[in-house]
C-alpha cells in the first residue's frame, strides 16, 4: 500500500448516488473526479436497495434523509443492503450534522460521514478512501465520538470496545481540530496508514460498542 493521500486502489471506482434531490445528484456527478464512475442513481429507499443490488458498486454515496422505507432514511438502505456490506461500502452524506443522524447511519454500517457542503475534490478523496476500506471522519463526527466516549484514555483493564486508547483519542482530537489525515500523521510522527488504522478502529468501536455511556449519550439525544 502506498502512503500517498489518495492511494487509488483501482483505476475506476464505481459509485451509486442515493439522494432525493435530483439537482444535488447532478451537481455531485459533475463535481466528482473523472476516475469515479457514477453507475447508478436512486431517489428513494426502495429504489436505492434495488439499484445497489443490481449494480453492486464499490461505494454508495448515501443521503441520510430519504423518503420511503420505514422512515429511517439512509439507515433503511443500509438495512436493506446488509448482505452486500462486505463488498460495497457506504459513505453517508447529509446537510444535517445533528448527532442523531450521524451516529445512527454510522452504527447502521456506513464507513464514513461527510457534510454536503464540502468540495468536489474532498468528496472524491473521501470516496477513494472509503473504497480503499478506510473510514472517513469529518471534524464534527470526531467531535461526536469524543463526546460519546469521553476524553479520558482507556485503562488496560477496561473493555476494549468501550473506550478509546490514548493514541485513538489523539487522532480523534486532531481530526476534530480540522487536521487532514496527512497532517495528523505528520503531527504524531506516524504513517498515514497508521492514522487510517486508528480511525478504522474508532469506527468499529462506534459501531459495536454497547457502552453504558454511549447508550446514555444516545438516549439523551433520542438516538435509540
Amino acid at each position: 500500500m502506498t502512503s500517498t493521500e489518495a492511494g487509488s486502489p483501482a483505476p475506476g471506482i464505481r459509485v451509486v448516488i442515493v439522494d432525493d434531490h435530483a439537482i444535488f445528484r447532478s451537481g455531485l456527478k459533475a463535481d466528482l473526479d473523472p476516475n469515479i464512475i457514477v453507475a447508478g442513481e436512486a431517489g428513494t429507499v426502495e429504489e436505492a436497495v434495488a439499484v445497489i443490488a443490481a449494480v453492486r458498486p464499490d461505494v454508495v454515496l448515501l443521503d441520510v434523509h430519504l423518503p420511503g422505507g420505514l422512515g429511517g432514511g439512509g439507515r433503511d438502505v443500509l438495512a436493506g443492503s446488509a448482505p452486500l456490506l462486505g463488498s460495497t461500502r457506504f459513505l453517508a452524506l447529509s446537510v444535517s450534522d445533528a448527532a442523531e443522524d450521524v451516529v445512527s447511519v454510522i452504527r447502521a454500517g456506513a464507513r464514513g460521514y461527510v457534510t454536503k457542503t464540502i468540495s468536489g475534490a474532498e468528496i472524491s478523496d473521501a470516496v477513494r478512501r472509503v473504497a480503499g476500506g478506510d473510514a472517513v471522519f469529518s471534524p464534527r463526527l470526531a467531535g461526536f465520538v469524543l463526546d460519546a466516549f469521553g476524553t479520558a484514555p482507556a485503562d488496560i483493564a477496561d473493555d476494549e470496545l468501550d473506550r478509546l486508547s490514548a493514541r485513538e483519542l489523539e487522532v480523534m482530537r486532531l481530526i476534530a481540530r480540522g487536521y487532514s489525515y496527512k497532517e495528523v500523521a505528520k503531527e504524531l510522527f506516524i504513517s498515514i496508514k497508521t492514522v487510517e488504522t486508528h480511525v478504522s478502529a474508532v469506527l468499529r468501536k462506534l459501531q459495536l460498542s454497547s457502552r453504558h455511556e454511549l447508550t446514555r449519550w444516545a438516549a439523551e439525544r433520542r438516538l435509540l
Binding site: P139, R140, T151, G178
Partner: protein
Amino acid sequence: MTTAVSRPPLVRGGDRVIAGVCTGLARHLGWPVRMVRLGMVAAALAGGAGVVFYAWLWIMVPTADESAKRNARQPASPIAPAVSAPFAAPPTTATSPAATPQAASAAAGAVPADSWRNRVTGVRYGKEILLGAGLLLAAGILIARVLGVDVPLGTLIPVAAILGGAAIAWMQLDETRRAGLVDKTKADQAGGWARLAAGLALVVAGVLVMVSGSGSWEQTWLALLSSVAVLGGVALVLLPWGLKFWRDLETERAGRVRATERAEIAAHLHDSVLQTLALIQRRAGNETDVVRLARAQERELRGWLYRDPGKDAGQLSEGINAAAAEVEDSLGHAVEVVTVGDCAMSERREALVQAAREAMLNAARHGGGAVSVYLEVTDDAAEVFVKDRGPGFDPDAVPADRLGVRESIVGRMNRHGGTATITSSPDGTEVRLRLPLSAVASAAAASNSNGEARL
C-alpha cells in the same frame, strides 16, 4: 357601574364559595358580590328557584381558565396555553386577594383540604355562614315537627343527600380541571378520588332511600343489588362508545398539537428562510453577499432545528459559537465549530472567548479555506484550537505595533492565567488557547496575571 360595552365576560371567578357563579355574575353585572349572593340565597328560599338558576349557571358558564383557553386561538407555541392560562383571568381588585393563596396552594401541590381552607379564609366566613344557614334550616324543620307540622322528612333527607353528593362530585370536577393545569400530585389525586367516592356514595344512598321509601333493610339491599345490576348492564353497553369517544378526543387533541407545531414552523420559516431567499434573489449578482446570506441562514436554521433542549443558556460553547457566527457574518468566511464538553460562562472564560474570536478573525482574514474551531472542556481546562489553511506566518516576525496577536490573544490569555501558543507552517496556522478551570490553577493564575500586568 360599567357600561354594557366594557362589561367583562361572564366567567366563573376564582373567588368562590361553591363554584364561583355569584362572583362571576357580580363581576359581569358590576354589582357587589355580597348583593348577588344574598339575592341568590333569597331566590333559593323562594321555592328553590335560586338553586336551579345557580346549577344552570354552574353548568353553562365556563371558568376563567377554560374561557381563556377557548379564546386562545393559534398560540405562538405548544406550551403557550399552559403558560398563559393562569394569567389570563382579568385582574380585577375583587379576585386578587383570594386568587393569590389559591395559586400558591395549587402550585405547592397542596391537598384539596388545604385549598379548601384557604378558600374559606379568602371568603371570610362564607362557609360558616352557609353552614349556619343549613343548621338553622334543620332546626326549623325539627321545631316544625315538634309543633306538629307534617314535614316529609322521609323525602327531604334523601333529597338533601343527593344534592350534597352531587355538589361534592361536581366541585371535584372543577377542582381537578383547575389543578390539572398546574400539577398532578398523587396526594391531590387521592383526595380527589375520595371526594368523588363520597359524593357518589351520598347520591346512591339518597336515591336508594328515596326509591325504596325508607323501608326495611331487606328492601334496600334488593334495590341496591338491582340498581348495581342495571348500572353494570348499562356500563357494558356504553363502554365501547365511551372508549371510542375518548380515543376520538385524544386523536383530535393530538391533531391540534400538530397543527400548532405546524403553525409555529411555518411562522419561523416565513420569518427566516423565505426572507433570506428573497434577499438572495435580489443580490444574485454579488457572490460574496449570496454566500454570506446563505451561510448565516443555514446557521440560524441549524440552530433552530438541532438546538439541544437539555443545554442551559450561558454556556462556554454558546459563546464560542456566537463568536464564530460573528466572524462569519462580518468576513463572509466559513468557520466550522466542533465542541466537546461544556461548562458555564464566567469572566475568565469570557476572556477565552474573546481571544478565540480574535484568533478566528485573524484566521478568516489571512488564512485560506475553511477555518476550523475546536473547543474541548475537560475537568482541568478549557482548550480552544483555531486552525486555518493559509500560507502561514512567522509569529516572531509580527511587527510590535500589530496588537492583534500579541495583545488580544497571547496577552489576554496570560492575564487570565491561561496560555496561548501559535504554530504556523506553510500548510496553515493554528492558535491553541488553554485556560485552566480548577481553583488551584486560577489562584496561581491570579499571581501570574499580576506579574504579566506589569510587563
